[in-house]
Structures are given as structure tokens and as C-alpha cells.
């Protein structure tokens, strides 16, 4: 490989990006927009769920339970209904996501020492929100149940009941279960995939479209030199973007960062080679800029958001789809990012995903280098 030729091509590429406002927009605006949109917009922390209540009894006990719901930060009681039709209307129209219905014999059941039950009607169209809201409602009712038991035994002069086998919960790595802390590292993977593949997808198709390919083919440059020269500048741009995203993630969104910068640097470099190689491969295969950038977008956006574990856990997918996720490089990088950010894992813990990412980089590099032929046919 001739270093002078690689340098010449890399320099030309840098000048071209610098003069092309669209590329600059992709380099700067895209990461900022994605970080802001996903950092703020993707929030799975369910609080202030709007609920309505329908108290069919109106006893002291039923009111105490309603107060317990009112006191919970997870629920906002926005309406008090007096019949089932009103409950149905409130849920149909989406004004309330849950309705708590207390049956007319609630306090009687309690007095008779039976199991009294309360109904939670949920708008389950959004199954995840409904499921989480149900969990919170169950804990409100559970602690209410404990209070009732306590006051009952006290009034009977018995020993307070013990709750045997109470579980103690320990949440590791993301102690407060903040969804942003887990989303933000994923956004970095998404941004790098989008920006990296977009930029290199234009490199060869631009030469074809502008007719400069003939000139390029007539020079003594080899395939490897061409690829190195075309990818190198974008590698540094990618690193700058990665640093930009990481600074925003840690300092603006205050994502916990428990690993080392060195681990992050090494794995990010590997991942950049993969996405840049992918864009270059597309560019070598498709001769129009618009076609190449469209394919680069489709090839990165959907797999990186859906099949990398970024939003949806991979282990919940059917086996065939799980198999497909092994072909998505973001899967490995995202697993690494999550581990480095939240678990503070080092290189030793991450051998498997790093090895797979390296293998991926090698295969893509080889394919990309071979995809371009120095012919005009």
C-alpha cells in the first residue's frame, strides 16, 4: 500500500465533505437531533398515569383506598365517576388509562374477614404502559391490605401479623430503573450507524455520478489504497461524532459511565470500521448517490432500532428473529456500550462481543474491498 496515494485520496475526501453542506449537516445535525429526540422522547418511566375512580360503596374503607391511590406518584386521579358508562367513556376516549372500581360490598367483605377484591380496568391497547401501571396498582393495593390487617389485629389485641418470606429486592447496574440510562448508550450506536454508513455510501457513487470515476480508474491506485483513503477521513469524523455523542450522554443526560474510556475507544473504532465498510460496500455496488444513501438508511435504521436490543429485548423475540439479530453489528456494539456504561465492564468481560465485532469488521472490509472493480463496464 502506497501511503502517499492513500493520503491524497483521504485529503480530497476531506475537502469534499468540508465543501458539501449536506454532508456537514449529516455530520453535525444528525447526531445532535437524534440525541435530543431519543434522549428526551424515549421514556419508559411510567409516572402520573391518568386514572379515574368509581367508588360504588362510599365507605370509610373505600375512601381510604382511594386516598392511597391519590398519594401514589404513579397515578393522577383525573376523574371520579358515578356509573359504569362514564368509566367506559373515559377509557374509550383515552382520558384515563386505568379505572379503579370498588364494589358495593367492599367494607362488608373486609369486616367479615373475607378476601375483598377491587377491580382495575385497564386500557391495554398500550400493553406495556398497562402492564406497568397494573404492577404499581398491585403494590398500592398490597400495602393497603397490609395496613388493614395491621389495624384489625391491633384492634383484636393480637400480635401484629408477620409477612413471611418478604422478598428483598436489589436492582443492580441501573438502581433506579431509569429508562434513559439504558436508552442513551443505544442512541450512540444508532447515530454512528446512521452517520457512518450515510457518509461512505456517497464516496464511490459520487465519483460515478460526476463522471470522475474514469479518471480515478486510470490512476495507479489499488483497490485497498482506494478503500483506505476513502474510509480513513470518515473514521476520524466518526470518532469525533462518537466523542460528541458520548459527551452529551454523560454530561447533558447524565448517563452513568462506569467503564474506561480505553475500552470504549477500542470497541467504537471496531464498530466504526463495520459501519463505514458497510456504507463503502453499498457505494461500490450502487452507482447513484440517491440510491446508495437510501439503501444505507434502510440497511441501518431499521435493524439498529429494532433488532439490536436497543428498544426491544432480543431474548423475547422468536428464535428465527433472534438468529437474524446475530447479523446486526449494532447488536454487539450495543451490548458492549450497555456493559461499559452501566456495568463498568472491561475488555476481559467483553471478549465474545468484541471478537464477533472484529470478525464482522474483517468480513465487511474484505467484501467492501472486493466489491469495487477497477473497470468501467
Amino acid at each position: 500500500m502506497n501511503r502517499r496515494r492513500v493520503k491524497a485520496i483521504a485529503w480530497k475526501e476531506i475537502i469534499q465533505v468540508w465543501r458539501d453542506p449536506r454532508s456537514l449537516m449529516v455530520v453535525l445535525l444528525m447526531p445532535l437531533m437524534q440525541m435530543a429526540l431519543l434522549g428526551y422522547g424515549v421514556n419508559l418511566d411510567i409516572k402520573h398515569v391518568t386514572i379515574c375512580t368509581f367508588d360504588r360503596e362510599g365507605s370509610q374503607e373505600s375512601e381510604a383506598l382511594m386516598k392511597a391511590f391519590q398519594a401514589s406518584p404513579y397515578f393522577d386521579i383525573v376523574e371520579t365517576e358515578h356509573d359504569y358508562d362514564a368509566v367506559k367513556r373515559a377509557i374509550d376516549r383515552g382520558r384515563c388509562k386505568m379505572a379503579i372500581v370498588i364494589p358495593p360490598d367492599f367494607s362488608e367483605d373486609l369486616a367479615a374477614s373475607n378476601a375483598a377484591s377491587v377491580q382495575a380496568i385497564l386500557d391495554a391497547t398500550d400493553d406495556n404502559t398497562a402492564n406497568i401501571a397494573l404492577g404499581y396498582a398491585q403494590s398500592v393495593v398490597g400495602s393497603f391490605s397490609g395496613t388493614v390487617q395491621l389495624s384489625r389485629t391491633q384492634s383484636l389485641g393480637q400480635e401484629p401479623p408477620v409477612a413471611p418470606a418478604v422478598a428483598q429486592y436489589r436492582v443492580w447496574f441501573n438502581e433506579d430503573l431509569v429508562s434513559r440510562d439504558f436508552i442513551i448508550p443505544g442512541v450512540v450506536a444508532l447515530v454512528l450507524a446512521l452517520v457512518g454508513s450515510q457518509l461512505t455510501s456517497l464516496t464511490l457513487s459520487r465519483e460515478w455520478e460526476r463522471g470522475t470515476m474514469e479518471v480515478l480508474v486510470s490512476t495507479p491506485v489499488t483497490r485497498m489504497e482506494l478503500m483506505a483513503g476513502k474510509i480513513l477521513p470518515y473514521f476520524f469524523i466518526g470518532l469525533i461524532d462518537a466523542a460528541l455523542c458520548l459527551v452529551i450522554a454523560v454530561f447533558w443526560f447524565e448517563a452513568p459511565f462506569r467503564g474506561t474510556v480505553a475500552t470504549l475507544f477500542l470497541t467504537t473504532s471496531l464498530y466504526l470500521i463495520v459501519v463505514l465498510g458497510l456504507g463503502y460496500f453499498i457505494s461500490a455496488s450502487i452507482r447513484s448517490q440517491i440510491g446508495a444513501s437510501q439503501i444505507a438508511l434502510v440497511a441501518t435504521l431499521l435493524p439498529t432500532t429494532l433488532l439490536s436490543g436497543f428498544a426491544f429485548p432480543i431474548d423475547q423475540m422468536p428464535p428465527i428473529i433472534q438468529g437474524i439479530t446475530y447479523l446486526v453489528p449494532a447488536r454487539y456494539y450495543f451490548a458492549i456500550l450497555k456493559a461499559v456504561f452501566l456495568k463498568g465492564s472491561g475488555l476481559g468481560d467483553l471478549i465474545a462481543p468484541i471478537a464477533l465485532l472484529a470478525l464482522y469488521a474483517a468480513i465487511i472490509g474484505l467484501l467492501a474491498a472486493r466489491a469495487f472493480r477497477k473497470t468501467l463496464g
Binding site: 429526540l37 376516549r93 378476601a115 375483598a116 385497564l122 391490605s145 436489589r170 441501573n174 434502510v298
Partner: protein, 376 residues
């Protein structure tokens, strides 16, 4: 006038359908997307890999572990021998949940003292962790209640058991909390937005780029006729896409459609007005297809994220909630889910329909005005 529009519509359809590659792009990517969303997009939590460490080896501890093993929410993947094994299993993500029962668990239980079991959860994926914790809580509290009743029968045989309050769940519209029911109908809104905005903006920018726009303008066709001729075909494409995805959703994924198809048709038509308006507006500010491509991305992507398609709007910061009120997709998603799952009609959906109509008229009018200017 009708003749001129008709011939333009025909030309546009021919251009769209003649090219095998274009036909392919019209049908295959949408199908792939519906299928991926149908299978991959799920927030449900089943078969959570679980490690257990039983240091008590009693009947009681085995009973508690058996309840986890019997639940389809948890799969016991590792029976650890030391606390260090548990640490490694969670560090390596072999297990997401770990249950640790210390020695003396059964003894404490029999004495009536509180016998804590420790549950460790990997919180990296906060949503999965939260839902898994809910299921752990259900299993443990059911176990605790059974043990408490046992205990009270043994200690105070004459007295009635202490009262309990339980919560019965009535999940309406989606009784099994099936994520697929939430996502697949929503794909209609995403795909029509992406495809129709792209098709519309590209169709006009391409004419401008290759210079045929000027040729058309010297024909007797008027700007409004030109716009109608350009938008009617893509309106039809939008309706066809809706039918395609609704068909795959109901027939393949067996998602219920309990509402009135005509309500969905009305909502889709109103939504398409906005979508076409966005496509036209983009075409008036872009000179090349490259620019149109980038602009589309910067418009469509925020619209998608701020629509409530996968992440609820009410959890977003107020500023973004405000932005979602001018996003046609957020209204259309309510219409789609309302007709598919809730089976509600216009008496419930009229505010969304009104909003869609208003946004559609404003966007279309703005684009027509701008478009006429850009021709002069």
C-alpha cells in the same frame, strides 16, 4: 381540466408501476417491516433467565423456587452453589434475575418471623427489569399469603384468617397484553408517512432535476391541476398500503379489527392530506433528490419518534408533548388503535378527525401556495 388531470395521473401511475424495481420497492419493504415489527417489537416479558441459590435446602425453599420454575415468566437457567456464582451469572448477562434463599429461611418461617428471600435484578434494561420485578412480586406475595394463612391456622386455630384486599385486573381491548396488537396496526401510520412523503417529494423534485418540470409548465396545465395529478396517485398508494398492512395484520398476525372500516378509511384519507402536504412542501424547498432525501429524513424521523408509536407521549417532556399536538401521526395512531382494538366510532374519534382535517388543510394549502410561487 379533468382530462388533463387524468392523463397526468395515468402517467404517474405508469411511471410508478412500469419499473420492476419500483414495483418491488412499493410492496416488499412494507411487508418486511410489518413482519419484523410483528415479531420483533415486543415489550412482553416471558421466560426471564433466572439463577437460583438455595442455601437452606428445605421443603419451604424448594417450594418457593418451584413456584418460579412453574411460572412461564421465569426459566431457571442456573442453580448456583455460591454467592459468587450469582454475581458472575448476572455480570455475564447469563441471568437477568437471581433468587437467593439464605440458610435458616424455613426456620424463620416456622417461627413466624419474617424470612426474607433476596431477589437480585439486572436493571440494565429498565423496562424488562421493572416488569420482571412485578411478576416476582406477584409470585412472592402469593407464596407469603399462603404461608401466612398456614401459620395463622396453626397458631390461632379458633380465629378467622386476617382479611386481605386483592386487585382483580380487567385489561380491556388487549386481554393478554399482547405487544403485537399495539405495534402492528401502528405500522400503517409509519409506513404511509415514510413511503408517501418520499414518493411525493421525489416525483416532483425528479421532474425539476431532469428538467421535465419546465416542459410540463409550458403545456396548458394549471398549477392546481398539476398538483392534483401528482398527488392523486400517491393518495391511492397510501390507501393501498393501509389495506395491505391491515390485511397482513388481521389475517397473518390475527390482530382483531373490531371497529368500522369506514371510520379507518376516513381517518386514513384525512391523514393522507397531511402526508401529501408534507411531501409537496418538501418538494418546494429542495432542488435535488439528494436534498429531498435528507429533508425527508429530518422531517419523518422526529414525526415518528414524537407520535406515540412505540413510546407513550404522556411520559415525554412538556415541550415534546406540545410538538406532538401538531404531528398528524399522533392523531392518526389514536384513530388506528381506536378502530382496530377499541372499536370506537366517530362519536369518540371526532376530535382526532377534526385535528387531522385541520392539519391536512393547512399543510396542503401552504404547500400549494408555495408550490405555485416556486414555479413562477
Amino acid at each position: 381540466m379533468l382530462g388533463r388531470i387524468a392523463s397526468l395521473v395515468l402517467k404517474e401511475f405508469l411511471q410508478l408501476l412500469r419499473d420492476p424495481q419500483a414495483r418491488f420497492r412499493l410492496v416488499i419493504p412494507p411487508l418486511i417491516q410489518v413482519i419484523i415489527f410483528g415479531y420483533a417489537a415486543t415489550f412482553e416479558v416471558y421466560h426471564v433467565s433466572t439463577a437460583v441459590l438455595d442455601l437452606d435446602h428445605s421443603q419451604e425453599s424448594r417450594e418457593l423456587i418451584a413456584r418460579f420454575a412453574d411460572s412461564r415468566r421465569f426459566d431457571i437457567v442456573e442453580t448456583a452453589r455460591t454467592p459468587a456464582d450469582i454475581r458472575t451469572a448476572i455480570d455475564r448477562s447469563d441471568a437477568v434475575v437471581a433468587i437467593v434463599i439464605e440458610a435458616g429461611f424455613a426456620e424463620e418461617l416456622r417461627k413466624g418471623a419474617s424470612a426474607p428471600a433476596q431477589v437480585i435484578v439486572d436493571g440494565t434494561n429498565s423496562n424488562t427489569a421493572l416488569i420482571a420485578l412485578g411478576y416476582v412480586g406477584q409470585i412472592v406475595s402469593a407464596y407469603a399469603q399462603d404461608m401466612a394463612q398456614d401459620l395463622s391456622r396453626r397458631l390461632h386455630p379458633a380465629q378467622p384468617p386476617p382479611p386481605t384486599v386483592t386487585l382483580e385486573q380487567r385489561p380491556w381491548y388487549n386481554p393478554d397484553y399482547n405487544s403485537r396488537w399495539f405495534f402492528v396496526p401502528g405500522v400503517i401510520a409509519t409506513l404511509t408517512l415514510v413511503m408517501v412523503v418520499n414518493l411525493t417529494s421525489f416525483a416532483i423534485v425528479r421532474e425539476r432535476e431532469v428538467g421535465t418540470l419546465e416542459q410540463i409548465m409550458v403545456t396548458p396545465i394549471r398549477p392546481l391541476e398539476f398538483i392534483l395529478g401528482k398527488t392523486i396517485p400517491f393518495f391511492c398508494v397510501g390507501l393501498a398500503l393501509t389495506a395491505l398492512i391491515a390485511g397482513v395484520g388481521t389475517l397473518w398476525f390475527e390482530i382483531p379489527f373490531v371497529g368500522n372500516p369506514l371510520v379507518l378509511l376516513l381517518g386514513t384519507s384525512l391523514y393522507l392530506l397531511s402526508v401529501l402536504g408534507i411531501g409537496l412542501l418538501i418538494s418546494t424547498v429542495c432542488l435535488t433528490q439528494q436534498q429531498a432525501f435528507a429533508t425527508n429524513f429530518f422531517v419523518v424521523n422526529p414525526a415518528f419518534i414524537l407520535s406515540g408509536f412505540s413510546f407513550p407521549i404522556f411520559t415525554m417532556p412538556v415541550f415534546m408533548q406540545w410538538l406532538s399536538t401538531i404531528n398528524p401521526m399522533s392523531y392518526y395512531l389514536i384513530v388506528i388503535r381506536g378502530t382496530f382494538l377499541k372499536g370506537v366510532g366517530l362519536s369518540v374519534l371526532w376530535p382526532q378527525m377534526l385535528a387531522l382535517a385541520a392539519l391536512g388543510v393547512v399543510l396542503l394549502a401552504a404547500s400549494v401556495l408555495r408550490f405555485r410561487k416556486s414555479l413562477d
